[in-house]
């Protein structure tokens, strides 16, 4: 595999205007449209319309980018895996005497070089708007309506709980009227009760509320961006492998859309007894376990599933209801999908009649 081969495969994909424009519209286009409209509304009527960026918008668009990014990448991968076949060029390439494996492998960096920048541009726009045209960072975190100073680390929170036992009890041990109570003092809790709870549990609840109410820090944005790009890369490689296997772009895209928007949500929605390990083999479940802590899962107000405080790797944590799997298992599933589809695609390319 040579640089020239990669460059020309990149050219071949990049020049598919329809594909690239669709990919850009479904990712960067949506982000620009939503944020652009919010910017305009805010500028025209600031009293009625808040700033363009907000934690909610950031989470929503990030999750959308991950979802659409996977699908768009799968479509690009399917195109990369089938274009030579459908255009009848595969035969000409094989006749050159170049190893078929090299021809396949060249598609990987070439395709990633097409799709990853598109997603990166979309996410960069989102981060810029969130940072420079978003809501100001709050100075306090509202935990069950109890204001707690923001930016505490675990030790800082522990110190604050010791100094404010009653407020801590109202925040972390709310009674029946707790969350709805007008003030912390209206639902007093036993002094020192909050302090008796494991600090990591309390800190997880604090950070959940902190994330929900504030824009992510730059380092969190970087983690979220990398996580989205990982989703996109997996989608591309799955599309490339499946496309090379079937030789049909449409079929490949349909199968991967079905996987992403039907199979994965169904298998991730509930724990199926005796099939939990099978559920974990779905790449979407494994990737969710890598979800950065600063990114709320779609539809979850507090974030975090039964895994609760289960930070896994690189600050990730599962947001689905599937119990977290060991880190090695999660990595194995993701690597397995990447390597597995690549091996299948390469094998088919090497054995296919040209």
């Amino acid at each position: 595999m040579t640089w020239a081969l990669i460059a020309t495969k990149h050219l071949e994909l990049r020049k598919r205007r329809g594909l690239v424009i669709t990919a850009a519209l479904l990712t960067t286009g949506i982000v620009v449209l939503v944020l652009g409209l919010r910017l305009i509304f805010h500028l025209t009527d600031p009293a009625s319309n808040g700033p363009a960026g907000s934690p909610d918008i950031f989470s929503s668009l990030s999750n959308l980018l991950a979802e659409f990014g996977f699908l768009v990448a799968a479509a690009v991968g399917a195109a990369a895996g089938t274009t030579d076949l459908t255009d009848g060029v595969f035969r000409g390439l094989v006749i050159t005497g170049r190893s078929r494996l090299a021809l396949y492998l060249a598609r990987i960096p070439a395709g990633l070089a097409v799709i990853l920048p598109v997603i990166a541009v979309a996410f960069t726009v989102l981060c810029l708007v969130t940072s420079y045209a978003g809501t100001p960072q709050p100075t306090s975190v509202s935990v069950n309506s109890v204001p707690i100073p923001a930016n505490f680390d675990q030790a800082g929170l522990q110190g604050w709980i010791r100094q404010h036992p009653q407020q801590a009890a109202a925040a972390f041990l709310p009674g029946p009227a707790g969350p709805a109570g007008p003030t912390p003092s209206s639902s007093p809790a036993p002094s020192g009760a909050a302090a008796s709870q494991p600090i990591n549990v309390l800190y997880a609840e604090y950070t959940d509320d902190e994330i929900a109410g504030s824009n992510p820090a730059v380092n969190e944005m970087v983690k979220i961006g990398l996580w989205i790009e990982l989703e996109v890369a997996v989608g591309f490689l799955a599309g490339l492998g499946l496309g090379s296997l079937t030789g049909q772009r449409t079929l490949t895209v349909i199968v991967l859309i079905g996987l992403e928007i039907i199979v994965t949500p169904i298998l991730a929605a509930h724990v199926i007894p005796y099939f939990i390990d099978g559920q974990r083999l779905v790449v979407g479940v494994a990737l969710d376990q890598l979800r950065p802590a600063a990114l709320e899962a779609p539809g979850l107000s507090g974030g975090g599933g039964p895994g609760g405080p289960g930070r896994v790797l690189f600050g990730g944590r599962g947001a689905l209801d599937i119990p977290l799997m060991p880190t090695w298992a999660m990595i194995s599933v993701i690597v397995g999908w990447i390597v597995g589809w690549s091996v299948i695609g390469a094998w088919r390319m090497m054995t296919r009649d040209a």
Binding site: T2, L11, K15, D87, R91, L93, I95, R98
Partner: protein, 414 residues
């Protein structure tokens, strides 16, 4: 009258198309090839057959054709002297055919027992093919005869079920990459990315080839006359331009061997003419061009040697001149007064293998191997009998006639 005398200008008086120069070239070609064959036979020992090609079945004969003369190409004693049939010059040979190069230089393509099956269908059946280097070689057969399958097998696009093969002396598929680095090929119609320009498509193929292929893009485009349209999208190209771009893609590797599958397909007469010239130019540079086709006339115009394939099996192969020589009958079309009486005279004289009255007059089929003197004799007899002869025209045995006679289209070959 012998061939040398004819070549020297002692032409008969009756009407024949073609000049003595052309005749001389053909005779010299036959002599040269015969000498090569003789040399090869002497080198290999007299027990080997004189033809470097795998032995062909006996030439089929029509009912009116007498037994083959001793000078028939099927005879092992024939190589040195020019066969008698060479004395009858074709009326309009398609072009000056080259002398097929000596196989001493090795074969450009060589297969033994090559077989490819698709289920119960045997697409390539025990093929023993020899393509001499430096020649234009036609792989000729009707549609569905297995021409493209053989080419795909040679190029490693599909696996052979049995047999061995080599390209330029390099065994494939064992050393396929090394062999294909010196081969350019078009299989079926040339296909390209329609959304890329001609130049970009060649860049893609050059990158796959590696080496100096990238530097040959511009010269290749110029060679096939596409330099002006190189930056247009291939989607806007005509079929002829795509064919030319296909040839340009073949030239990226500066190949010693070009394998072109049906290169004339979809071309208009001008395009065919261009393609013919292009192929001739490539052969003149010392490259070997193997082309498959079902267009007999084009193969005859373009190639020096052919293999005829039918139902996956090669049934004949060798230089065209040798294959068609004596393979069929020679006929003379007579334009005369009283054709019925002329027919009686010819029949009674017993000098013809057959006579047929036609709307145009009388067709006289001469015995195989007849000399041109027989045509003059025919003329003398008719004139002597008081029949006015307005014209005599030889009906040449073309590759097409021969092809149809040996393929299953007209019955079982041989």
């Amino acid at each position: 009258m012998n061939a040398i005398a004819l070549a020297a200008g002692a032409a008969p008086q009756h009407v024949f198309g073609g000049g003595s120069f052309l005749l001389a070239v053909l005779v010299l070609a036959a002599l040269g090839f015969g000498a090569v064959r003789l040399t090869a036979r002497r080198r290999a020992g007299s027990t080997k057959p004189d033809s470097p090609w795998p032995s062909n079945p006996t030439t089929p004969t029509t009912p009116t054709t007498p037994p083959a003369s001793p000078a028939s190409p099927a005879s092992p004693a024939s190589p040195a002297p020019p066969p008698a049939t060479a004395e009858i010059a074709p009326s309009a040979p398609p072009r000056l055919r080259r002398v097929v190069p000596s196989p001493d230089a090795g074969w450009a393509v060589e297969t033994d027992g090559l077989t490819k099956r698709f289920g119960s269908n045997v697409a390539v059946n025990d093929v023993e093919l020899r393509v001499p280097r430096g020649s234009a070689f036609g792989y000729l057969g009707p549609n569905g005869a297995g021409k493209t399958t053989l080419i795909r097998t040679l190029l490693g696009l599909t696996r052979a079920d049995a047999g061995t093969m080599s390209l330029l002396g390099i065994p494939v598929p064992a050393e396929r990459s090394r062999a294909l680095a010196r081969v350019g090929a078009i299989v079926d119609e040339p296909r390209f990315h329609a959304h890329l320009t001609g130049r970009q498509n060649l860049r893609l193929l050059a990158a796959a080839r590696g080496g100096e292929a990238d530097t040959r893009i511009a010269p290749s485009l110029a060679r096939v006359g596409l330099a002006d349209r190189a930056d247009d999208k291939v989607g806007s190209y005509s079929m002829g331009m795509r064919q030319r771009l296909g040839v340009a893609s073949c030239l990226l590797g500066d190949p010693e061997l070009l394998i072109l599958d049906e290169p004339m397909n979809g071309l208009d007469p001008a395009g065919m003419h261009e393609m013919r010239n292009l192929i001739a130019g490539l052969v003149d540079e010392g490259r070997t061009v193997m082309l498959s086709s079902h267009l007999l006339d084009e193969v005859e115009r373009t190639c020096d040697a052919v293999a005829i394939v039918d139902h996956g099996r090669v049934i004949r192969q060798g230089p065209i001149a040798e294959l068609t020589r004596g393979a069929g009958t020679v006929a003379v079309q007579l334009d005369c007064a009283e054709p019925a009486r002329a027919k009686r005279i010819v029949d009674e004289a017993g000098i013809a293998a057959g006579t047929t009255l036609t709307e145009a007059g009388l067709t006289v089929t001469l015995p195989q191997g007849s000399s041109r003197e027989l045509i003059a004799d025919l003329n003398r007899r008719l004139v002597g009998a008081g029949i006015s002869v307005y014209g005599l025209q030889e009906i040449r045995t073309s590759l097409e006639d021969w092809f149809l006679s040996v393929t299953s289209r007209l019955g079982d070959p041989a």
